[in-house]
């Protein structure tokens, strides 16, 4: 029970307050005199709620919003970067302005006839050891073809948006790419004049391949910064593709001269590659 000892109510004071309340309510209903007080309280309530919300909830929600928008931006940035790289690779072969091919006739013919005598696929980089690439002889990387199909891409040329980077040397995904700079790799090259041919071997150094030849056999004089092209003789790489430029000429003896060619492309420049089969 609520109360142990008897209590007595004050009838008169209750009656007074009840009469007072009744007067107030009648006065309010008939004249709306307390409307200003109600409005003031309402505005105070709204202002207080706004201030409390600004102080307590807003900072937390803004942090959350910032984190969320940052994550969205990172995702969007990655997506756009991938799409851009893919479009670079896609457009690289077909662009009339690029210097991938020495003679643009092949591309022009392709445009005119709308038929290509080659196919290419886009591949995603899966693995490349940069330390190995910088230091050691074995220069390999692994790629995976996006939108895999039944076409055989064994021994296909691999390129990025700067030029050739190597060739595929296995038949199963992920495909192993033997880079041009691997010491086991050899690419037939030539000069623009078609008066000098050579097999350039990988140097084991990043971006450098070396061509050793007998200067007595070739009349053409080698100069620094001369552009070197693929000769297409090996059957792996198409003819007349820019490979690199002569960086250094070393006369070993009267029967041997080595020229170091600095490649235009590097496998570390991008994550997406084109795999070209012709």
């Amino acid at each position: 029970m609520a109360r142990i000892s008897p209590t007595f109510s004050k009838k008169i004071s209750f009656s007074l307050f009840i009469i007072l309340s009744t007067c107030i309510i009648i006065f309010d209903i008939t004249s709306s005199s307390f409307q200003d007080i109600r409005n003031s309280f309402k505005s105070f309530k709204i202002s207080s709620a706004y201030v409390i919300k600004t102080i307590s909830i807003e900072p937390i929600s803004s942090i959350k919003q910032k984190l969320k928008s940052k994550n969205n931006l990172i995702k969007e940035n990655k997506y756009l970067k991938d799409a851009l790289e893919k479009s670079y690779i896609d457009n690289y072969l077909l662009s009339r302005e690029n210097s991938f091919f020495k003679d643009h006739e092949m591309i022009n013919d392709s445009f005119i006839s709308s038929e290509y005598n080659f196919f290419y696929k886009i591949a995603q980089l899966k693995s490349l050891d940069p330390n190995m690439y910088k230091c050691c002889d074995k220069h390999r990387m692994f790629v995976e073809i996006i939108e895999e199909s039944n076409n055989d891409i064994y021994q296909s040329a691999v390129f990025n948006n700067l030029g050739l980077v190597g060739q595929i040397i296995n038949k199963k995904s992920p495909y192993e790419v033997l880079l041009l700079t691997d010491i086991n790799h050899s690419i037939p090259i030539k000069t623009e004049s078609d008066e000098f041919f050579c097999n350039a071997k990988g140097s084991g150094r990043s971006d450098i391949i070396i061509c050793s030849f007998n200067p007595l056999m070739w009349d053409e004089e080698m100069k620094l910064e001369t552009t070197i092209f693929s000769s297409g003789l090996g059957g792996i790489y198409p003819r007349n593709i820019e490979i690199g430029a002569i960086k250094q000429i070393i006369n070993v003896d009267s029967n041997q001269t080595d020229i170091e060619i600095e490649l235009f492309s590097s496998p570390m420049e991008s994550d997406l590659f084109g795999v070209l089969k012709f």
Binding site: R3, F17, I18, L20, I24
Partner: protein, 157 residues
């Protein structure tokens, strides 16, 4: 001072709760006067008589925060306080069920009176009837809680 501040905060909180659930319950034709029931419970549980001025001031404050006519809750609270004070000694003779019915009837009267003042043109007997059942059931539920979860007290020697 701290005691009054706590009371004010509690009133604001209960009124906020009342207004929050009222829109949901109105879908089922129920008006649940939580603030009123909380106040009657406070008066009922009080060891001494509640002063009419206190009832008046609390009522006016609730009028202010619930944006109803000034004097409406002040009047009701004064009347209810007076009634509970009268029956305070008689409650000892009542069973829990009778007390629950008593508070159910009080809350029904409150709903009816407030509806007559603020919602005269849409007064609904159906709403009043359902509210009466709901409030009485709620009081019984609260009383049952006391039975199933009795208050533990320390025995001092």
């Amino acid at each position: 001072m701290l005691k009054y501040f706590k009371k004010i905060l509690l009133i604001i909180f209960i009124n906020f709760l009342d207004q929050s659930i009222s829109s949901f319950l109105s879908n089922f034709y129920i008006i649940f006067p939580l603030t009123f029931l909380a106040y009657t419970f406070y008066v009922y549980r009080s060891d001494k008589n509640i002063n009419p001025s206190e009832a008046f001031v609390i009522g006016l404050f609730i009028d202010l925060i619930s944006e109803s006519y000034f004097g409406l809750h002040a009047l009701i609270f004064c009347v209810v306080t007076y009634i509970i004070n009268i029956y305070a000694n008689a409650f000892k003779l009542f069973s829990y069920l009778q007390i629950c019915i008593f508070f159910g009837v009080l809350s029904t009267a409150y709903v009816g009176f407030t509806q007559l003042i603020i919602n005269l043109y849409n007064f609904s007997y159906l709403m009043l009837f359902i509210s009466a059942i709901f409030c009485t059931t709620f009081c019984i539920f609260i009383a049952a809680l006391r039975v199933f979860f009795p208050k533990t007290s320390k025995i001092t020697i």
